[in-house]
């Protein structure tokens, strides 16, 4: 490899307490969360103390860990070959995230196209549905579940409206506009870094973080609307299940992305990143574009079609 010839010394860090610290903190989070969920399920009050402690510990260790990585980078011991490892690492991490969402999209398509129509009596497997729940009508969104006593359906759904005036008030459309613009603003921030315009970086990156926050607020608004006015909850059958798991995990990823971009913004104010070396920022922007692409797929397959 060309890089290793120009920079023979690939920096291998000395031993570090961060990884085992994260592992222990994750264990704390997970043990706490498991106990909490089981306690709630069996009618207890549940305490989130342990899981919140775990979460706080994760963030604490990450703070030190990232601080060390940033310091290493600023000190110049990180050669181009090591930087390339970070690039590969981020790329493959995003691929793993794509596959995580693929599982939920797969569930959505399977349920919509196959499971619901089989339950409604279609095809070779239809006989089971016909025998168990003869009055179930296959439709999407499923408004009346095969067994409405066990799983009462939603009163209304989130599907895109048919009239232009209703579209103007349709929150997911505005969320799409917001996220797509934020992809553009983060790109403008990248161009500003490449052109070494510090003021413009702060402006565009700040705007991106702001758009991310607005998206999250609107998403919360949409959930409140769904729970309180539409009667659409996690418990309303397969439509609610797929709707909330897809939009929910997307929202969780937007939260993470906004946090990462906010850290990048903080680093810009600290004078980090230059036109040659800004992968910390670029990784954040890749993540942001990925989250954006997931939303576009969501908008089409969860809301419109």
């Amino acid at each position: 490899m060309a890089n290793s010839q120009e920079n023979p010394n690939y920096y291998v860090p000395e031993s570090s307490w961060y990884p085992v610290g994260i592992a222990a903190a994750v264990f704390c989070l997970i043990l706490g969360l498991g106990n909490f969920l089981n306690d709630i399920k069996s009618g207890g009050d549940g305490s989130l103390f342990m899981s919140l402690l775990g979460l706080a510990l994760i963030f604490t260790v990450l703070y030190f860990w990232y601080g060390t990585v940033i310091r290493e980078n600023e000190s110049g011991i990180v050669n181009t070959q090591l930087k390339k490892s970070y690039v590969w690492g981020m790329g493959w991490f995003i691929f793993s995230e794509v596959m995580f969402f693929a599982a939920f999209f797969g569930a959505l398509f399977y349920a919509r196209v196959l499971a619901v129509s089989w339950l409604g009596g279609e095809g070779g497997k239809g006989i089971t549905g016909e025998y168990l729940w003869p009055e179930f009508k296959p439709e999407w969104p499923v408004m009346t579940n095969p067994n409405p006593e066990l799983f009462p359906g939603p009163a209304e759904n989130m599907q895109a409206p048919s009239t232009a005036s209703a579209w103007a008030k349709y929150l997911p459309l505005w969320n799409t506009v917001i996220l797509l613009s934020s992809s553009w603003t983060v790109h403008m921030a990248h161009s500003a870094i490449k052109n070494s315009k510090r003021g413009a970086i702060k402006f565009w990156l700040g705007l991106t973080v702001l758009l991310g926050c607005i998206f999250l607020v609107l998403q919360a608004e949409e959930y409140i609307h769904a729970y309180q006015e539409l009667g659409l909850t996690l418990e309303t059958g397969i439509y609610g299940s797929t709707f909330f798991i897809l939009t929910g995990f997307h929202g969780f990823h937007v939260t993470l992305g906004t946090l990462i971009l906010a850290v990048s913004l903080y680093r810009v104010f600290r004078g980090h990143f230059n036109h040659e070396d800004c992968f910390g920022f670029e990784a954040a922007s890749w993540y942001w574009h990925f989250v954006d692409v997931v939303w576009v797929c969501l908008f089409f397959f969860v809301y419109i079609f």
């Binding site: 290793s4 031993s15 070959q81 590969w88 569930a107 070779g124």
Partner: protein, 537 residues
């Protein structure tokens, strides 16, 4: 085999690195690929013994018909945890441990690409398995729904401990994904100058493709258990037909992960055997290029065969035909591999040291497991074989004398490089013959009881299966206790074996054999020069 030329004396170049830290801190905080490889290997061996004890509980109960030793409920927990621990705790971490030890040395890299993350991928595992094993002591017992954790057994009817099982799977998945990202980054970015892709040892190639499979499917498994978690705690109905979902959907998602997972557990084995057979046949590997392409083909096909695990759940005829033919098609690249190993041995100057014995047993017995796999791929025949001991015999033939034998072979093959000492060859051969006999006595009769209709995952059975089960149980104890001999041989070699040379094996080729034994704490801190003279590997 490539004739690698090391350009300069790299192993003394240690000026900006220190040796290992002292005491427990070395193992907790290490970023060294050799330390982390050792941790992975010992961890997986511990899990192998725990999972093995569970197997012996199963075989003890099945020694005779009737219920003698354990409750059926506990028996179910044993089958479930035996499978989960062997797959996720023994086989997979052992391969990652080998990858950690070998890939940097085989590529001429100073370490793994992302050393701190490397430590994190390992240290998640003891927590994950501690959590999973602790479920056995919880109220209501541990997971009891089979290692495939089909819904609704694992959701509606699961014990409360399933929540912790789900989180443990999340942690194992995170560990695998990080480990794989590290391996891919290392192979793509850390090869020494001149180590082109088509010169890499096959172990690196097979691990590159395995890592890709892991990153592609572990998140899908995470998605599956997440949906389980939501069905259990948040009232969703992904896997409940009453709410418009489908329990069969769980099986589809699980096996979309599960089938590539099967190849995740065998592709690195192919790489190991492809290193050992040429060494002891003293011939270059036959058909290196075709080995690479065959591995890639198997990986591709692994994504489009998953439903052959569920022919009997009811699926459209077109689906059954597609999954039957695509499954059979995998025999083609696999056949290429077996042919190449045999052709490598053809007219070679063969010697039969312990690693070679395990490698040859691998080729023969893995191929048998492959053939019974072909039988299972035939949809109409599968209606008869499904969920019988024939399936158990099939996958144990590919996993025990397949994956596990390759790991044992790798340990014998590279142990002198790791610890600097040779193992005791006669004891090694004894271990091989005990294992070889034990594994066949255990699993071969299961083909017959399966074909005769004995279902899997039951603590009691009809009288007609008694003889085969008794033989099987005796084999299991022989095989299980032989592995204590393995532990003794390894520890004896580490503590008091005869010193090994750097070359170790007369016929060994590759960068890892150009450094002294034991391998220094840091190797190739400046990259070696790999000549681009002649062939591959």
């Amino acid at each position: 085999m490539s004739e690698v030329v090391v350009g300069h004396d790299h192993h003394d170049d240690d000026d900006h690195h220190h040796g290992p830290a002292k005491g427990i801190a070395r193992w907790l905080f290490t970023t060294n690929h050799k330390d982390i490889g050792t941790l992975y290997l010992w961890f997986s061996f511990a899990m192998f013994l725990i999972g093995g004890c569970m197997a012996l509980v199963i075989r003890t109960e099945l020694f005779e018909p009737g219920l003698q030793f354990v409750d059926p409920e506990f028996f179910n927990q044993m089958t479930t945890n035996h499978g989960l621990i062997m797959v996720f705790g023994a086989i997979m971490p052992a391969f990652v441990g080998l990858a950690n030890w070998l890939i940097p040395m085989q590529l001429g890299a100073p370490d793994m690409a992302l050393p701190r993350m490397n430590n994190l991928s390992f240290w998640i595992l003891p927590f994950a398995f501690g959590l999973m094993l602790s479920t056995l002591f919880m109220e209501g017992g541990g997971p009891n729904f089979g290692w495939t954790f089909y819904a609704p057994l694992s959701t509606t009817y699961a014990p409360d401990s399933v929540t912790f099982f789900i989180f443990a799977v999340h942690m194992m998945g995170a560990s695998s994904i990080m480990g794989s990202i590290n391996i891919i980054a290392t192979i793509l970015n850390m090869r020494a100058p001149g180590m082109t892709f088509m010169k890499m040892p096959l172990f690196c190639w097979t691990w590159l493709i395995t890592a890709y499979l892991l990153i592609a499917v572990m998140p899908v498994l995470a998605g599956a258990v997440t949906m389980m978690l939501f069905d259990i705690h948040f009232g969703t109905s992904f896997f409940s037909a009453a709410g418009g979902g489908d329990p069969v959907m769980f099986q589809h998602i699980f096996w979309f992960f599960g089938h590539p997972e099967v190849y995740i557990m065998i592709l690195p084995a192919f790489g190991i055997v492809s290193a050992i057979i040429p060494t002891f046949a003293r011939k270059p590997l036959f058909g290196y290029d075709s080995m690479v392409y065959a591995t890639a083909s198997i990986a591709f096909l692994s994504f489009i065969v998953w439903a052959h695990h569920m022919f009997t759940v009811g699926m459209p005829l077109a689906g059954q035909l597609f999954f039957m033919y695509s499954t059979m098609f995998i025999a083609v690249p696999t056949g290429v591999k077996v042919f190449n190993w045999v052709a490598t041995m053809w007219q070679g100057s063969m010697t039969f040291e312990t690693p070679m014995l395990f490698a040859i047993a691998f080729v023969v017995l893995f191929t048998m497991g492959g053939f019974s796999g072909l039988m299972l791929a035939i949809t109409p025949a599968d209606y008869q074989y499904h969920d019988t001991y024939f399936v158990v015999a099939h996958f144990h033939y590919v996993l025990v004398p397949g994956a596990l034998f390759s790991i044992i072979a790798a340990v014998y093959f590279w142990l002198p490089k790791w610890c600097g000492n040779m193992y005791d060859e006669s004891l090694g051969k004894l271990h091989f013959w005990l294992s070889f006999v034990g594994v066949n006595v255990t699993f071969f009769p299961q083909h017959f009881s399966g074909l005769a209709g004995m279902p899997r995952r039951i603590p009691d059975y009809a009288l007609q299966f008694a003889d085969f089960n008794m033989i099987s149980s005796m084999g299991a104890f022989l095989f299980g206790f032989s592995q204590l001999l393995f532990m003794y041989i390894v520890i004896k070699a580490i503590r008091s074996g005869k010193p090994a040379t750097g070359q170790v094996w007369e016929g060994a080729h590759g960068l890892e054999w150009t450094i002294p034994s034991p391998a220094p704490y840091h190797t190739f801190t400046t990259p070696p020069v790999v000549s681009d003279s002649n062939a591959h590997n």
